[in-house]
Symmetry: C2
């Protein structure tokens, strides 16, 4: 157990839950890493699609970024309201379920689950991808590094919320700090040079325009840029993890995260334009990420550049953590409504939902292994899930306000309604723009998940109907059971078993299987050691039944005999008493057959409601 | 079960054992393959060591082969006597154990076990090696082919003796037939050409002598040639497998096998000399086996040559089969004396000792995998084991005759004594000549096996002393047990469990673990559904005990409570009654926790003699 303690920390008592709650400083890395890190790839994704437009494309970057920032503001105000309305944790699932019905809730849940799994796989592989392009000698180890980081994040999350926040604080704030510093320097230089700063390190030349600007290409760029918005719902989903006053702390955390993200997106868009930076093709040699070009242009390739790049790598790789914070909470909420296995709702030793963390790690790990650690092709898939969840959540809030009513409800309804409308449009835009590239997979996966969750629920309901019991204990039938004891030879184990059998019932039968070796010795011993003392004590002696077994099977005849006895004694329960030698050392397993264990399993599988298995252990060491 | 039937055949009843017995025709392939196939590598092994002597070395081949044939004759007469003296199967183990004591018996057993495992690995890899040198494109699949053949031989052997004999008859007789034919042709041509036949296909030129003949090099060649004698003990070990009259059939089989082997060895040695054939270096290009050169020289590379070569490949690869026939019988004999796990003495569905067959297959498979299917370096190891077993067996027979006495005993004693002396000398020769090349491994392995077998025996003896019971059933203590029932909520499963508990004892306690969620509902239901009807029926109501669990563990508190109850009730047995939902479909396992199974295991592991586990199953489907 001490290794577990070392890896995961000592177990936490249930009443320590409050102490595990987090404040704003820890909340930003835990729930904001996903959103903030997307500043590192959202603008890049948009700019990549604008490459064919050449220099003209760069000019479109500002309006595209502005639309994304406005969308972000709308979503921000909506979620602010959600936090206040659902202080118990108002993820898209809960809000949609309570206001739009179960199906809408599950739809949001399925969309979010896909989103989270993809976030983990894509985040880690993006970080490792950046690392590998910096240190090409690591190329061959891409998958191992990805899986190593996944294991690390999993372990950190299994340690609990507080520890996670502390560990992720440094890289998050370094990332935000260096990017903001670069922006201040860039803006200052732009101001000094009246809008035409001279780059310290010249960006790669912008290629000739190969296409004319059109609505389709702008739409595609916008849809790609929208990946910058994934992770925004994280805070509202995890409100319960925050310290008292819960709503205020959660709102403050959300405000800071969104504000930082907006500043980063706006700053990047503006500097990209004044420095004239176009994206480079990742499939051609000489590829550099947009942020790398931008940082080099602003400050040259000095210590600052490398610090900033290192923090970007780290934050990308660790952005998966937000999914680890939210996915288990989402699964727990679904499991509490019986749509996922109940084990998702059990808190582990460090008060986190262990099962959800492990499930996320396993599925993301499988994705990483299947794609060999390079998951670029998965990126188009995950904006759909995020925006679908946004839309359902906002739409649910509209219903909430209508239901709740009261002062300010109309205004709140309008804010959420506009949010739902804007994100709904975005879902359609993203779906259309990215359908061929992979969004269709999401379209297929979501109903599959819905069906699976429906089946889980049906099973639990079936069990509930079957085992529920609104009736009291009947006291009428008190006939003792018929006890059947399999016996191989007369020894102390058998004696102990027989004594117990005779304690619990006067109806005891011993069953001996004879694979053709004769049973005279046992008959003789039975007569001397069992029947004689029983007769002397005036007790009915247990009967010895010998079952021939021409094919040398031992267990089959016993099971068949038990089933037959069950049919022949319709008024009695049948208890099969199995003497078992318990092996305390692993190597004992080599010396003794596993008949007792196999017989127990066989009786469970082939038995029925009236057959009960009693296991009388015998310990070698005592 | 029908797949098993197809692979292994229908189960055989114990009384069909006699029908599974074999005659001479099937006995030769089953027990003779190992010995006969060694004609294909024994002479080659000796000739390889004579390469440095050039043409002079070939001349030494005849005296070396003659010594081996004489040794073979001595061993033959010894084993003929063993068969008559031990019609129940007189393997080296049995004979040495009964006449020289347990340690000598186990020494012979260990030597033979090593010999058999090596026979399988080396035989298969030699056959596949020959195949690969004929069809080089198979080179990359060496290991797969080796393992494939191993699986095939294992399956065939699991089908039982009779089937094995039938399957291996064709390749064995083809091998013997073609080699004998080649010899007749060769001798005829030699006779016609007055001792100087012209080879149809000229053998490779003999290299210049690079060394002078000396005692050491001749000794080495003799030691290598002795590998031709492994497998000779097989018949005496498996006497029981033969048809009535057992001794006569077994002796006839041994005579034919040894006679054929002698003729083959003598013929090869003579023809090698008259055709002037030297071995070629297997590590140099242009390598050809001695038999290949010989066959080509005698008959040219026609249809006959290829038929003969194919039969050699097959017989080499299948020579492993003799080990499969004998190893399980050897293990069974050892297991019956408690020096190996008893499962080795159990006959499977086809009346063979399944466990021994599987153990041999697994160990040989591991060797093949570790050495990548090329086991040349293992060859020096296995003559030691075989000759050590020969020596102990002969020495044991000397003791046997001294004990038995009577007519002819002195003559028999002399034959066996001379055999023991000759094979004993050979053990020393082989050990010295091959010590550095690997025989030292055998020297280390044998005592390791001896110690392991001693430990197994000690364990069984310990268990025997502990469980044996020469005393009758005591009828004094009839106090019913204290029954403890873990309860999570009131439902039909719990109700069924409680009813059974109350049938077998008036002392019933229900235990509920509360991980901090409160237990008011259960208390209320207990009062209404259990206590009230019990009081009305005038029965003591089961007590409900609530155990708090601050760390949310469920099973730990239950186990601790049971152990505590055991300490507090020194006069009563404790029965823990575990209600369990039985999952009939694999996917049900995802939905319900495994607490019942884990609790059963925990109670077995942490419990003691006075704690008994009762499992009341609940079936969902019914």
């Amino acid at each position: 157990m001490s290794l577990l303690d070392l890896l995961l920390g000592k177990p936490l008592a249930s009443d320590q839950a409050r102490a595990e709650c987090i404040g704003t400083a820890a909340g930003i890395p835990i729930f904001g890493l996903d959103a903030l890190s997307s500043a590192a790839y959202g603008p890049e994704a948009a700019l990549t699609l604008l490459i064919p437009l050449g220099a003209l494309g760069i000019a479109y970057m500002v309006p595209i970024s502005m639309s994304i920032i406005i969308l972000l503001a709308i979503v921000y105000f909506s979620y602010r309201q959600t936090i206040a309305a659902y202080p118990g944790g108002g993820g898209s699932y809960t809000v949609a379920r309570q206001n739009l019905g179960v199906t809408a809730g599950l739809l949001a849940a399925a969309a979010l689950m896909i989103d989270y799994v993809l976030t983990v796989a894509v985040g880690i592989s993006a970080g490792v991808g950046a690392l590998v392009s910096a240190v090409p000698s690591l190329q061959a180890h891409t998958l191992s590094i990805c899986l190593g980081i996944l294991v690390l994040i999993t372990l950190i999350n299994l340690r609990g919320m507080r520890d996670t926040g502390v560990i992720f604080m440094a890289p998050t704030y370094l990332f935000v700090g260096t990017l903001l510093t670069a922006m201040v320097i860039g803006l200052f230089k732009t101001f000094l040079s009246s809008g035409h700063p001279v780059p310290v390190e010249a960006p790669p030349p912008v290629s000739q325009a190969a296409a004319l600007p059109g609505a389709w290409i702008i739409l595609q760029a916008f849809a790609s840029g929208c990946t910058a918005m994934t992770g925004v719902e994280a805070v509202s989903n995890g409100v319960k993890a925050f310290r008292e006053p819960v709503v205020k702390t959660a709102r403050r955390t959300l405000t800071i995260i969104i504000a930082l993200l907006m500043v980063l997106l706006a700053g990047i868009a503006y500097l990209v334009r004044v420095y004239g930076i176009a994206a480079t093709d990742p499939l051609r040699p000489g590829y550099q990420s947009v942020l790398s070009i931008l940082l080099a242009a602003v400050s040259g390739k000095g210590v600052f550049y490398y610090t900033a790049m290192a923090s970007i790598l780290m934050v990308l790789a660790l952005s998966a953590n937000t999914a680890f914070a939210d996915f288990p909470r989402l699964c727990r909420a679904i499991a509490q409504n019986n749509y996922l296995p109940h084990s998702f709702a059990t808190r582990g030793r460090r008060l986190v939902y262990t099962q959800g963390i492990l499930a996320l790690a396993v599925v993301a790990g499988l994705l990483l292994i299947i794609f060999g650690g390079i998951t670029d092709r998965l990126i188009p898939l995950y904006a759909v899930g995020a925006f679908l969840a946004f839309t359902l959540s906002q739409a649910g809030m509209v219903g909430h306000w209508r239901r709740v009513g009261g002062e300010g409800a109309t205004r709140s309804m309008l804010i959420n309604g506009f949010g739902a409308f804007a994100t709904g449009i975005t879902v359609i835009v993203v779906l259309v723009a990215k359908f061929v590239e992979g969004a269709w997979i999401t379209v297929l996966l979501i109903p599959a998940l819905l069906i699976a969750m429906g089946l889980v629920r049906r099973h639990y309901h079936h069990v509930f109907l079957e085992v529920r019991c609104p009736t009291p204990l009947e006291m009428d039938d008190v006939a003792p059971p018929l006890v059947i004891v399999p016996v191989q030879e007369w020894n102390r184990i058998v004696k102990k078993a027989l004594r117990f059998a005779m304690k619990i019932s006067p109806h005891v039968r011993a069953v001996h299987v004879d694979p053709g070796e004769g049973s005279e010795i046992l008959h003789d011993e039975w007569c001397r050691f069992v029947e004689k003392p029983a007769v002397e004590a005036g007790v009915a002696a247990p009967e010895l039944v010998v079952l021939p077994s021409p094919y040398r099977l031992i267990l089959g005849p016993i099971v068949n005999y038990v089933l037959q006895a069950e049919r022949e004694n319709p008024t009695q329960q049948i208890a099969v008493l199995i003497p078992e030698l318990v092996e305390r050392h692993w190597y004992h397993h080599l010396f003794h057959n596993k008949r007792a264990s196999v017989l127990k399993t066989l009786l469970l599988l082939r038995g029925n409601q009236r057959i009960i298995v009693i296991n009388v252990p015998w310990y070698l060491d005592t």
